[in-house]
């Protein structure tokens, strides 16, 4: 690979008050450099008004996701060499969410939909009871485990074209959480979960295009979780119970 000393980085700027427009920066290239490093370099050396968000820098917190050359990614875990298009990178705020400013997307709709999908705990016991013993090998537990590492980064939500076309759609992450809780022995209200994912914008709006599973940086599989919800709701319709 030829040595290059600069990258051409196009950043989407703007927000509710100013229309989005691209701005291009020349950023020094290094051997080891993530997209987040590049964005930080711009903010620290070229334009301190550039707005973006990050916290952990190691793929734990889920706050640094942005569109990089048209793909939603964790910028802290994306090496520049992996995404470079010629000598250029284009960085924008996450798709399918309102923009607060520049690269910082407003995550409120994403989190609100977790609640709408009943992504909340329905306890089986009170604090006075002994902790329930969980058998790790049951099918249900394995299904629940499959989705538990989700860090709410919204990468899948931004990758989903159904979210883009249907603002009511709860989206892959919220539905995956609903499926996780549905399979959790410690959750007491499975019917509330199935009701929540059967309404407008519920799991039945998903078209199984699998962009969520393709792009989840955690290698989770929301597509299969949603298919599980479709099966469970269909089974309930025909009188089958869990």
């Amino acid at each position: 690979m030829p040595e290059r000393d600069h990258l051409t980085v196009t950043v989407q700027r703007g927000g509710p008050d100013a229309p989005m427009r691209p701005q291009t920066f020349e950023v020094p290239a290094y051997d080891n450099q993530t997209v987040l490093d590049v964005v930080s370099w711009i903010q620290q050396n070229a334009d301190p008004t550039l707005t973006y968000r990050f916290a952990c820098r190691v793929g734990m917190c889920g706050s640094c996701a942005m569109m990089v050359n048209g793909v939603p990614r964790w910028t802290c875990r994306t090496h520049v060499s992996k995404v470079l298009d010629g000598n250029a990178i284009e960085v924008g705020p996450l798709r399918n969410l309102p923009v607060i400013k520049d690269l910082a997307a407003d995550m409120d709709p994403f989190f609100d939909k977790w609640v709408s999908a009943e992504g909340m705990h329905h306890p089986t016991r009170t604090r006075d009871d002994a902790i329930e013993a969980i058998d790790p090998v049951t099918m249900e537990r394995q299904e629940a485990n499959a989705g538990i590492e989700c860090i709410n980064c919204s990468v899948c939500y931004s990758a989903c074209d159904t979210v883009a076309g249907n603002p009511d759609y709860l989206g892959p992450a919220a539905l995956q959480r609903a499926w996780t809780l549905y399979n959790d022995a410690k959750d007491a209200n499975k019917d509330a979960i199935l009701d929540a994912v059967s309404g407008t914008g519920g799991c039945h709006s998903c078209h199984s295009m699998g962009s969520c599973t393709t792009y989840c940086p955690n290698e989770l599989d929301p597509l299969s979780a949603i298919l599980g919800l479709k099966r469970a709701t269909t089974k309930r319709f025909f009188g089958g119970r869990k």
Binding site: M67, N69, G70, A159, S208, M209, G210, S211, T214, L227
Partner: protein, 112 residues
């Protein structure tokens, strides 16, 4: 910013949607032509002679392909949704397209 998403299952989704849309748009025309049989069989025949034209033959090939690809793609989706079955989806999506080419090419070979 352009969005990059042309992975196999996304293409299968797009193909299923476009084939469904194409069939739904063609359906009223199909019904209308057949209704001619009620009043005037000669008129229906005049229409059917059109099917001898190469261009119309290609269009028919397209329709049979749309129907076959929507059928196989739809059965793939139904199995995916209702059977506890997640195996190699990309392979099944490709098989649906391949099967549709087979069916519609058989049709074309019979037609010419």
């Amino acid at each position: 910013m352009k969005v990059a998403r042309a992975h196999p299952l996304w293409l299968a989704y797009l193909l299923h949607r476009l084939s469904g849309l194409g069939l739904a748009l063609f359906l009223p025309l199909h019904f209308w032509v057949l209704s001619y049989a009620l009043n005037d069989a000669a008129k229906l025949d005049a229409f059917l002679t059109l099917t001898e034209m190469p261009l119309v033959k290609m269009a028919e090939f397209g329709l049979v392909f749309l129907l076959a690809v929507h059928l196989f793609g739809g059965l793939r989706l139904l199995a995916l949704e209702w059977l506890p079955w997640s195996a190699p989806q990309k392979t099944w999506a490709a098989a649906a397209v391949a099967g549709s080419f087979l069916v519609s090419t058989t049709f074309l070979l019979q037609a010419i």
